[in-house]
Each structure stands twice: as structure tokens, then as C-alpha cells.
Symmetry: C2
Subunit: 231 residues, 2 copies
Amino acid sequence: MREPEIQAAWHGLASCESCAIRDLVLFAGLESADFNGIHLPIQDLWLPPGATLYQHGDKADYLYTVREGLIKLEQTLSDGSWRIVNLLSQGHVSGLEAVTSECYGHTAVVLQSATVCKIPKEVVVRLAPKLHGQLMKKWHESMVKTQECLRELTSGSARQRVSRLFLALPVSLGARCHLFGREDVGALLGVTTETASRTVAEIKRSGAIHEVAPNVFELNRDELERIASGK
Amino acid sequence: MREPEIQAAWHGLASCESCAIRDLVLFAGLESADFNGIHLPIQDLWLPPGATLYQHGDKADYLYTVREGLIKLEQTLSDGSWRIVNLLSQGHVSGLEAVTSECYGHTAVVLQSATVCKIPKEVVVRLAPKLHGQLMKKWHESMVKTQECLRELTSGSARQRVSRLFLALPVSLGARCHLFGREDVGALLGVTTETASRTVAEIKRSGAIHEVAPNVFELNRDELERIASGK
DNA sequence: CGGGAGCTTGAGGAGGATCAAATCATGTGG
DNA sequence: CCACATGATTTGATCCTCCTCAAGCTCCCG
């Protein structure tokens, strides 16, 4: 939570019309003419791990499309502790609530270095009629992911949860998974940092995962699925 | 999960324009002319506890507005167990995914006898331009609730979770709360039925809640908040 | 080289899971 | 109306997992 102030690198203004992942993102349904109507700048940003997109309670003026990397959404509870309530990767949208709400409802922090498009809320509001379907899809997508966190990552033993987490992580080149810090693993699974560390180590010893570089793992999916389903 | 087939009572066709909770629901922004354009019947139903609105995987042809009562949304995990991923009460919408998806993504079951409006998907699709803002609000509302379940009800000890559940339950007449079966409490909090039962009993003995009738409780909110924040 | 942060490991104890049985509530058929 | 079956709830006893507190460890950076 006490993240340092990390600056984003400026890539330049995004050219949405020629976006490589355009069919995944918010502007999927738009035509050439629509893009001409966008007069506000859409920034193309690169963000290192630890960078904060926005904080809970900030004025919600932008939506963020994730082009690459991994973003966590955090919320704090009354007793000062905090939980991760969603993980966003390629194609997902962070800050959807900007469209209907004054302020952000969670804190968004980069877990794996990310490239994102920072879209002014007004652009989305102006294009709303055209974006309607895509916005609904993005809400749905986001809800599916959050419910997956709730269902798969907070049920059963720590062993089961960690296994399911590995199976749910986005896969990088070569069928490898990039894990994040143990504190974040704990905040996602609803266990302590120590239990997260111990359990990852235990699964590593069991041979279901193999650490090829610090926090980079090759997965034995069959074995992980066996563990995930309770032995 | 093995709910009996319970029939809904037919109230009749809904008259949305004069709905008592219209400003809460999907049709909040509509005018008289818009209602005339609705040619498909919107059913007004009463449903007893245990009734199923729809099952996970069913063809999603209807949205349901909750006018009264409490609905749970369930999902099953790979190992056959199941979790409650959301609780819906007055003003909330069940089955929002019908708009963008072919099938329902969860099973919706009545926890406290409910009155709901069953709205054909086509009605919503046809009115989409007018409903856009309201649909987004409903998605946002639903997401806030699911994230609340994840954050508040799956963190900390069973004592804390049960206390937070009581504080989150809708309040009936006379500041009283109606609890549901222990198995459902367990499926919501991520604990076993036995632990749910034991913990409710323990909080009852502590005086933070008082059972005035079977499963109807008067709350000592200060005391519950003390417990919820970890003693 | 000396911090500092994150990760790992250890020992101990508390809390929840599991298995089992008793109690209570409800509805059914005799 | 009562006897009985069924299912939910409660309670008990035991075991195991995970939390807590604490100490070492590794890696990185000044």
C-alpha cells in the first residue's frame, strides 16, 4: 500500500485505429469516422511493477485498457488490512466505474510491467451509444474475473488455492508463468504472507511447478489440477 | 444444490410505469412513451425460499429485478463444492449477463421470499439506448456487492466474517435481520456448516445479537463492529 | 560493505475441518 | 392425533492446517 511514486514512461499518443489488440478492447466496434471524432488525447503508457494507476477515492477521470502486463485492484477493509479483488491482464479495462461514478472504487497497481491506454472519461461518454455493447461486455468480463477470484482463490486449503492461482495466471512465452510477491499472493488468496511463501515452496518441492528463474515457473498442469481438486 | 422444483406464484403483468420502486430499478430513466413501446409481457412473480430463478448454463432469456426479498447467486467449483458469489436485494438486478451472453453464469436461488419482475431480454435490448446509463449503474452496483463479499466475508476469522455478514444484511421492519440456513452462511463465508452454526451461536451468547424468532435477530451494531474489526 | 526489503524457515498455539452423534423441526401416512 | 422419517441444526471430540511471532536468509542498491 505504501507504494513509492513511480512515473510512467510516455510512449506517445495512441493510434487506436491501428491497434494490434483492437478487437479485444473497448473500441472494438468503432469505424474510421468514429475515431475522427475523438479530440481528446489517449495516452499510451508504459508502467513498471509497483506503479499506481489510481487510488481508491481519486476522482475518476480516465479508463485504462490493459495492452500488456498485469494489474491488481485492491481494497482496504475497516481494520486496515487489504485484499486484492481482481487481476486484470491483456484486453481488460481498469476503472470502468469512471463512466457512472465520481470516484474510483479501488486502487489499481501494476504487478507485472504493463502497457496501458489511458482514455479520458469524456471520450467514452461521448462515444457511449457506439460503445454500449462493448462496455457491457467489459463489465461482464470484469465480473466473471472477480467471481473467479472469490470462487477459486478463497475456497479450500492454501495448497488448493495456490494451485488454482498458477492455473489462472496469464501464460507468457514458452508456457511459463510469472508470479508476483508473496504478500500479494497472500492478499489475493486470503492467507498470510508466510503461508503463501511456504505453500509455493511446498508445491515447488512436489514437482508440480519448476522455477526456471526468480518467480518464473514452468507448470505441470495435470499435477496442479490434481492438487487444486483436493488431491 | 438439489433444490426441489418450486413454482412461482403468478401476480400478473407488471405495470412498470407506476412501480413503487421505479427509481431504484432498470427502468428509472424511461418516460411514458417508452413504456408504450414494450410489447412483451413483463411478469410480476412471487417466489418462496428455495425457488430457483435460473440455473447456471440455462439459456439467458430474462433479466430479473428484485422488488423484495433476498436472492443468492451460486457457482460450483471443479471439485463439486459451491460458493455464493453475490447476494441481491431490493433494486438489484439478477441475470444482467443475459444482455451480452447466451447463458447464465450462475444459479440464482431465493433465500428470503421474494417478489421479482421477469423482464424478457428483448425488451432490454430494444430499449438499450435509453437504458444504457441505468444498465451501467446496475453492473457497477453488482460489482460493488460482489467485491464486498470477497473483501468483507472471506477475510479474517469466522467470528469477524459472521459479524460483518450481520452488518451487511438488509434490515427488515423494526431494525431486525433475517438470517438464512447455516449451509448457505458457510457457502458465503467460505467456512463449513458446522463452523457457521457454532459461530452464530457464540455471537448470540456474547450478546451482540438477540434471536427474537427463529433466524430473526436484533443487532447490537456497536458490538458487532467491535468483533468485525478484530476485537 | 552495510543496510533494507522481501523471502524463507522454524516452533508453538489457536482456530477451523472432520467425523460422529444428539437434538430439533417439519411433514407424512397410518 | 400420534409415530415415524427426513433434513437442518447443534454439540462434542480429535486432528490438522494455518496464524503468530521470531529469527535467519538472499538479493539489491547505495
